[in-house]
Symmetry: C2
Subunit: 146 residues, 2 copies
């Protein structure tokens, strides 16, 4: 199946916000907050919704900065991930969230990776890409048309 997911990298005082996964084989691992695109929503709306659901925080102003693709996962999917970043997540207020969250710096995330506790082969690359300037424009066509 073709799967499109949107994730958000939230950075604050050189720490990144990860979530503790609860699903199946990923339980106990840490990953970027995010999830699958739903019908009718834009990629940005998906990123904001999933971030809020999983972390309880408002994403604030988000910006797309990289895209990753795994053509064949172990689950038989082809997964395209649109990754947004925010430096303005509203962390003072928090709603109830689906997942446990943790703020970790890069070294702590590398340590998790070495222990096999990081979910997603692309997470470290993605975090490193946040410091690069890259502007991608996604044109969204809301009108119904073939």
């Amino acid at each position: 199946m073709i799967v499109v997911v949107c994730s958000v990298v939230a950075e604050h005082n050189k720490k990144f916000l990860l979530v503790s996964e609860k699903k199946n084989e990923a339980e106990g691992k840490y990953g970027l907050p995010g999830g699958q695109l739903e019908h009718g929503e834009t990629l940005e709306e998906c990123a904001e919704r999933e971030f809020k659901e999983e972390t309880g925080y408002d994403a604030g102003e988000i910006e797309l900065f990289t895209i990753t693709h795994k053509p064949a996962t172990q689950h038989g999917n082809s997964v395209i991930r649109f990754v947004y970043k925010t430096a303005s997540a509203v962390i003072s207020q928090r709603s109830p969230a689906e997942l446990q969250t943790v703020w970790l710096d890069r070294d702590e995330i590398i340590a998790l990776s070495q222990e096999g506790l990081l979910r997603g082969a692309d997470v470290l690359d993605v975090l490193d890409a946040t410091s690069k300037e890259l502007t991608i424009t996604i044109k969204t066509y809301k009108t119904i048309s073939s």
Copy 2:
């Protein structure tokens, strides 16, 4: 359903290569050569394969230059299109192709659009975007991993 398609804009002497659609309600309309991403292939491989199948030409060297998204089409799909361009399509040799092809300049394509014979609300925008410089890096993870 989430649908990911890859298209190729081939430009030669200020003309663009369009294909005459054969499917259902699109019959008789013109669109960019391209089609759906299949499991296991990269986005670039998809673009090259679809271009070859539909036009009979080898795409040559292709470069991603824009992405469009239609969150809700009339068929109930959410369609993300990765658009590549090539100026080096091998047009001297041609294999049998699935579709009829036509080389049209921008004015001719605008005329088609005005007659309702252009398939895809984003085609004109996409063609105009070919002249802009834009580098998007898609990281592809071939290894099987969650």
